[in-house]
């Protein structure tokens, strides 16, 4: 049935999350691959967040606004990828639940100078069963570790891909996304067998 709406077909939207500690390069990665200048949208803390958000001292404050970056990559006419940079603070976990719902997968950005910052993200996606890859953002002044060392430090499951990347570089960031979708494809093939 045609209600006279736009003739443009409605694309399938696929959501990919970009997580990691504060300053790990989430916004940079989104900006490197997005076809639009990364946009920001704001989410308010609602009642659902009260349990997780530390409201000590601000009990009377009923809403908090948190900004998240997102970018878009159009894949042909039928598919659009949306990349969401998850808010960096632990306080905003509640937002992740909604973001992670229906997400294809996640990229966890790790900075080897502050590896611990990405532990919560890894824990979160492991617990939820969201497919993810870990991308080590190679900062210039960070001493380099071998993949095995980083894997050991993160206590990663053997099947979770670990990639090295430069979040400023478009090709490198693209490779991370491709790595994630390939990982999802592998999981999906394994599941259907």
């Amino acid at each position: 049935m045609d209600y006279g709406r736009s003739s443009r077909p409605v694309p399938t939207a696929i959501k990919i999350l970009v997580a990691g500690g504060f300053g790990a390069g989430k916004t940079t990665l989104v900006g490197a691959v997005s076809e639009i200048r990364p946009l920001q949208t704001e989410e308010s803390l609602t009642a659902a967040g009260v349990g997780t958000d530390d409201l000590t001292g601000v009990e009377r404050k009923s809403t908090t606004t948190v900004a998240m970056d997102f970018g878009r990559i159009t894949i042909g006419q039928d598919v659009v990828l949306y990349l969401f940079g998850t808010p960096g603070q632990d306080r905003f976990w509640f937002l992740w639940d909604e973001l992670a719902l229906g997400a294809l997968g996640a990229v966890v950005l790790a900075d080897t100078r502050r590896l611990a910052d990405c532990f919560p993200s890894i824990d979160y996606f492991e617990r939820r069963g969201t497919p993810f890859v870990v991308a080590v953002n190679c900062f210039d002044d960070a001493s380099s570790y071998t993949e095995a060392e980083v894997r050991e430090a993160l206590d990663l499951d053997g099947h979770v891909p670990l990639l090295l990347c430069d979040a400023r570089d478009r090709e490198s960031s693209k490779a991370v996304l491709i790595g994630l979708v390939e990982h999802v494809l592998t999981l999906s093939t394994a599941r259907s067998r």
């Binding site: 736009s6 077909p9 691959v33 946009l39 404050k61 719902l101 491709i178 494809l185």
Partner: protein, 224 residues
């Protein structure tokens, strides 16, 4: 209290709103994109005018602020930059008290957040009357229904309908309208309840897209 890490926080970079580029006029661009001819009476004229009016007000506000900052004090004498239409944001970071001696707090102008509390425009409602709206759910305005719209819609509702003539994700809509997602969801619920929009939901949680879609995504990314 911890400062929320939103755009209101001092020290955050400016938002980089693409609509703030002085050479661009989103109202006009939108109407061009939508193929609306100025001067022809077509549905959506009101929405278009609304967007243009908002833009004009924004321009005026920007110019006012730019002139003010350039002079260093609000002495009431406003010059208009030689009429070039260029108005750059001041080099000084907002919130630098030494640079702005007339302020006694760090959040001013746009940094101080919206003048209207976010949920004021939903009448305090925080849950949509109908539907659920994922951040990547696609919204399309129902053109047939648009023909006899007119009562009970707020400017924000109309703006949503104007933007959603072509499929647009909820998050993009919120970003274009500069409204919080929660607010946009309530407004979308109103529109859905009245049959003015159609929603296209992303794949259900826990259900991975088909292999053919995944392969198309991989190839598409490689080809970028």
């Amino acid at each position: 209290m911890t400062t929320p890490p939103g755009r209101h926080a001092a020290g955050q970079p400016d938002r980089g709103d693409p609509g703030r580029d002085p050479g661009r006029d989103p109202g006009r661009e939108l109407s061009r994109e939508l193929g609306l001819e100025v001067g022809r009476e077509v549905p959506g004229r009101a929405e278009q005018q609304w967007v243009e009016q908002q833009w004009a007000e924004q321009q005026r506000a920007d110019q006012y602020r730019a002139t003010w900052s350039a002079q260093g004090a609000p002495d009431g004498q406003f010059e208009h930059g030689g009429g070039s239409g260029e108005h750059a944001w001041p080099e000084q970071r907002r919130g630098d008290l030494s640079a702005e001696p007339w302020t006694d707090h760090t959040w001013v102008d746009r940094d101080a957040g919206p003048v209207v509390r976010p949920y004021a425009m939903t009448g305090g409602r925080v849950t949509p009357v109908s539907g659920s709206f994922d951040v990547v759910a696609m919204v399309v305005a129902n053109r047939a229904a648009l023909a006899d719209v007119g009562y009970g819609l707020q400017p924000e509702h109309r703006a949503i309908l104007a933007y959603a003539r072509d499929p647009l994700a909820v998050a993009e809509l919120a970003s274009h309208l500069d409204l919080a997602l929660g607010v946009v969801r309530v407004l979308l619920g109103d529109l859905l309840g009245q049959g003015l929009i159609e929603m296209y939901h992303p794949p259900v949680a826990g259900e991975l897209p088909s292999e053919s879609i995944l392969k198309a995504v991989i190839n598409g990314l490689r080809a970028l």
